[in-house]
Subunit: 155 residues, 2 copies
Amino acid sequence: MITAVAFLALQTIGCMEKESNKGGSELQSIFPKGDLGPEENFTGKAWNTGLVANDSIYNTVVGNVYFEPGARSNWHTHPSGQILVITDGVGFHQVKGQPKQTIRKGEIVKCPPNVEHWHGASKDTGLQQMYILPKTEKGIVQWLQPVTDEEYNNQ
Amino acid sequence: MITAVAFLALQTIGCMEKESNKGGSELQSIFPKGDLGPEENFTGKAWNTGLVANDSIYNTVVGNVYFEPGARSNWHTHPSGQILVITDGVGFHQVKGQPKQTIRKGEIVKCPPNVEHWHGASKDTGLQQMYILPKTEKGIVQWLQPVTDEEYNNQ
């Protein structure tokens, strides 16, 4: 009986960790984790999976980034803007000169063309986010300077 | 002790049902269920949530459809094609004149411009799918005839 209790307890704890997504545990993932984003464009660990490559039929690039807790992109711009779809976790999005927004599962973020922004995970919980880049005939991304700890921690 | 075991067992069973997504139980949902798609365009129950409305900045429409088991769209075309992102469950996608494809969580489907297609859930398991419509300056969708039971069941 003690064995049975321990077995069930372990299964239950495993399940609850998966559902609570707290404290840096793995979030609900739809796609493979992908490749680690390069240090020159990201602070901390951000894993990128390409889903739709650029072509001249759709002119749309789609992918997923899993930001580990505390990880974030550098400041950057997109010549035709960007749409983010948050599929799990908690993170931040900031447009230059505006307050940092908290972003959560189920939310959509739109950043207009050529507007400087960054996005990433909260300190304690990671972020699963899909990105959609439209009108790629104008280009994809221009990478800028890192987001400092002061900028990241700013309320 | 018996009470403790029963409590843990119930918690475990609840968790496993949510993860298995079998037999028509609710799938993992990221977005609200949304509005029931109209009978003239869908067979069975398909729930639509708009995520990104059309505009002249992004020229991209994004949304989510939850197809209940057995539900599917009519045949239809998109003037600039469509990208589907399957986020949970099991379903089908078929391009006119080609075999029906089975589609699952984590998969991407691209349907080129002006190509007749339909998509929907499998008989036993529902489908959660995001859709991306690029280059909406050319239009969104042209609805056609329903997918017959014979077409739906065809291997």
